[in-house]
Amino acid sequence: MSIEDRLRSGLAPEGEPPSVDDRVVDRLVDRARRRHRVRVGTGVGAAAVATAIALAALPQVQWNQSDSEPAVNHPTTPTEYTETWTFQPQTAPIDSQSWLTQLAQERPSLESLDGTGLSRYGPRVFARLRGEQVHLNVKYGEATLSIGAHAVRFSWSGTYEVAGRQVTFDWAELGTSTFEWQAKTTDLNRQMSLTFVSAEGPDQFGAPVEVFLRMAMTSYPFTTREGFGF
């Protein structure tokens, strides 16, 4: 039997599947109500905190601006909030840094696809990277990847986790990607090199996302730039 046939016949569960318990829906309703209450509570709480901070800062702002035009102060409330928020301090050498590559040139970019079977996509994706720099900000679990030399042409945001020698990014529109990292400190700056491990995500620039990630993230080492940041 071929794999094709086995896949068509062998993936289904053996026998009759268990019946669906309607009480699961009732539990889902309870969860949804609890989540709703948490959201409302968190939103009200965040608004109250923001208002308190704004009111506390009001006299200071007026004093600082006493030599100029009278200031109009509007206490602000956040326009959005998250259901949960956790702070996870990071300790890996690549954390809390703004990393930057040199300007992308064709040969190293295309060579990053050697041996992958994806080289045919290289020229198409490199057309978007030609002469640009790759900026990677990683801080407090939040990551931003930007492409541009003088101005940002493309940008993605997401989260990251460092586990040993690997860093896994979970991008909002690039999917999930994992790299091995190497970092070292020189007299001038810090350097970081990434090696592609895996990626799963929607196509980018008409090619599998792996093509873009390999070309953008692994063609050149990253260096730190003090005070840099998009």
């Binding site: 094709e4 068509r8 993936l11 053996e14 949804a32 896994t168 599998p208």
Partner: protein, 168 residues
């Protein structure tokens, strides 16, 4: 928050099939039920909007697949961190009650990347055409064909079978 009759009907129609599809991705039936329920929870919260879509079932399936792929990624990261603690764990230990017809095939599928597993589940288990799988996975049909091609090749190597494709 209320579960309407239409929502309950959709739940009864789709739940088991979503769980089993997710199970092909996660190889953990209990975890697959959690993921499926999280997806149906999202559906419940957005029911006013999603119920007006042509196919609310496709919406919840898409959400479940995305959650499963992300859960698989987080699980891999966690296992890398806790390699010692998880050494020897049987990924299929939670599947005692519901077993696949071809257990060897499922074992081999566990070795595939999550997106390939998702494509295999949607195409072969749910018998969806490549275009529909691409819609559910938010990628191009060509990408789905590549996922399926690579999955078949890898499975053939693992299981020592021939590859016959009628897909691409």
């Amino acid at each position: 928050v209320q579960a309407t009759d239409e929502y309950r009907w959709l739940f009864r129609q789709e739940y088991r099939s979503v769980v089993w599809t997710v199970n092909v991705v996660l190889s953990d039936y209990a975890r697959s039920e959690e993921v499926a329920q999280d997806a149906f929870l999202r559906l419940l919260e957005k029911w006013d909007k999603v119920s007006r879509y042509d196919r609310p079932g496709a919406w919840v399936r898409r959400v479940a697949i995305r959650m499963a792929v992300r859960a698989d990624r987080r699980e891999q990261v966690r296992r890398r961190r806790e390699r010692t603690a998880t050494a020897g764990r049987d990924a299929g230990a939670d599947m005692a009650e519901v077993v696949p017809r071809d257990a060897a095939l499922m074992d081999a599928i566990r070795q595939l990347p999550a997106k390939q597993r998702a494509a295999v589940a949607l195409h072969y288990l749910e018998d969806r055409p490549v275009q529909e799988v691409a819609d559910l996975l938010d990628c191009a049909p060509a990408t789905v064909s590549v996922h399926l091609h690579r999955a078949r090749q890898r499975l053939a190597e693992t299981l020592g079978e021939g590859v016959e494709s009628h897909v691409d």
